[in-house]
């Protein structure tokens, strides 16, 4: 039934459907800001991609209608705080499309995941706006007010759980004194996990990268937890906080910037999972998925070179 290969447009559309669950979960905790960011991101992506394609004198319609720019935009919009000002998502998406994709020659030629390149750019450039999350559900008009700078958000914002835990641990608190759980993060991660399983079921992605990614996260975080359970948070928290599931199923599995051989995908996913935890625990930023993805992206040519399947009989 699924033996027919999907074309780019169909793949992109399936991925967007699969993202819906996680987006609904995020919406139910953060409110309309999530949707506003996604709309802004998609509009920006299509505008920037069209403008750049016309500069490069390439046909615009096929490139826009394959949905890849919109998908990158949605992934980036999901990753940034729902109350970030409008220019954050606009600048980030423009950077992702221009520097992450078009300058390398468009879809299929980019060595880095455009969405994560845009995210890393935003996180490094605007750390304050990128780490202030909505503390409560925002209605539509409220979300518009906040995103377009019409009113202040101080009263209803906060850091993410990973960020909180990191700050508290740095102050010398022990894990047992802290609440390392986060209901909202757990539901969002669960949404992306279920969406990812749908992608597996539809054979849009193979099991290698997500399985290896999650194993990598689990292995390194158990090792750390066993070394000292008062400094390092438990495995289940690493799996259900931050962007773990989004990264495992939707970002690491990008067919362009990821590894393409079965064995390579296992290595690629596993090392990425390990890096995510290492950057989270020892790095300067609260979450490590974006940096882990970018770091592993540059190792892909090497991994693919050494894991090419042997031609039968040779």
């Amino acid at each position: 039934m699924y033996s027919k290969a999907l074309n780019t447009n169909q793949i992109m559309r399936q991925v967007m459907y699969a993202l819906a669950l996680g987006v609904v979960a995020a919406y139910s905790f953060f409110g309309w800001g999530v949707i506003v960011q996604i709309v802004l991101a998609v509009v920006t992506a299509i505008a920037v991609e069209s403008a750049f394609l016309s500069i490069r004198k390439h046909p615009i319609k096929p490139a826009i209608s394959d949905g890849s720019a919109a998908l990158s935009a949605i992934l980036l919009a999901i990753s940034i705080p729902s109350i970030a000002p409008w220019w954050i998502v606009v600048v980030g998406v423009a950077f992702a499309i221009i520097f992450g994709k078009q300058l390398y020659g468009g879809l299929g030629n980019n060595p880095f995941n455009p969405a994560m390149l845009g995210y890393a750019f935003l996180l490094i450039s605007y750390p304050l706006q990128m780490t202030t999350w909505a503390g409560e559900f925002l209605g539509f008009s409220q979300a518009i007010d906040v995103v377009f700078n019409l009113s202040s958000v101080d009263a209803l914002s906060g850091a993410t759980q990973l960020d909180n835990v990191k700050t508290q641990l740095a102050l010398g608190k022990m894990v047992s004194e802290l609440d390392v759980h986060s209901i909202s993060q757990a539901w969002i991660n669960l949404g992306f996990l279920l969406g990812g399983l749908y992608l597996l079921f539809r054979r849009v992605i193979t099991w290698h990268i997500p399985a290896a990614f999650i194993t990598g996260v689990a292995v390194i975080s158990s090792v750390l937890f066993l070394i000292n359970d008062q400094i390092y948070i438990p495995v289940q928290n690493h799996l259900m906080l931050g962007a773990t599931m989004l990264g495992a199923f939707f970002i690491a599995t990008d067919p362009v910037s990821g590894s393409t051989t079965p064995k390579g995908r296992l290595i690629y996913g596993f090392l990425m999972g390990v890096l995510v935890v290492v950057i989270r625990v020892f790095g300067g930023y609260p979450d490590g998925v974006a940096f882990a993805v970018l770091l592993m992206n540059i190792t892909v040519p090497l991994i693919d070179y050494y894991t090419q399947p042997k031609v039968f009989g040779k």
Binding site: F99, I124, Y126
Partner: protein, 231 residues
Amino acid sequence: MGDYIKIVKNGLWANNQALVALLGLCPLLAVTNNIVNAIGLGLATTFVLVASNVTVSIFRNHISKEVRIPIFVLLIASFVTIVELLMQSYFYDLYLILGIFVPLIVTNCAILGRAEAYASKNTWDKSALDGLMMGIGFSLVLILLGGMRELIGSGTLFDQSSLILGSFGDTLSITVFENYQGTLLAILPPGAFIGLGLIVALKNLLDLKAAKTSESIPLDGSIKTIALNNS
């Protein structure tokens, strides 16, 4: 005269050390986070280039071929030491900011490159002009990149000019964008690489356009002769 025009053109554009030869990138990328640092390093590099080119050119017939590179390096190092001591006494704050990159001018391949490729084969006046033009070409790229990064990174231009010009410099500082929160990436090392990449791309684009327009002119004999006479 044509020789001198060609030297100027080479230094500023056709063989620009930063954009075409891509030499001396380490200091170029490291100190261009604002215009003032760029001007400071640009001036220092230009001084060393001119001085080393002239000395190398004067002594070019007395330096034996086998040991020329160490001798060039020694000459360059002496001038860098002079610059370093001058900066310590007159622009101490700037010297602190530029830090290791002042002594590192010794290792700037652009300087050794000009000594080896040009000054060791040409008369001192041409070498002096070559050093000056190569230095100015290098400095202009530094300043352009520094300006770009400062503008995008912190929304100002000529900030901290007092480091070079004393109290007069404070009046030069321009805040281009009010209430600008800054794009940190432009000031960090990735901003230098991206910025330089864009400038090199722009130069290649302009060259390509120039080549296209000159192609569209019908190549009749008269233009050819002029071109030959000039070169």
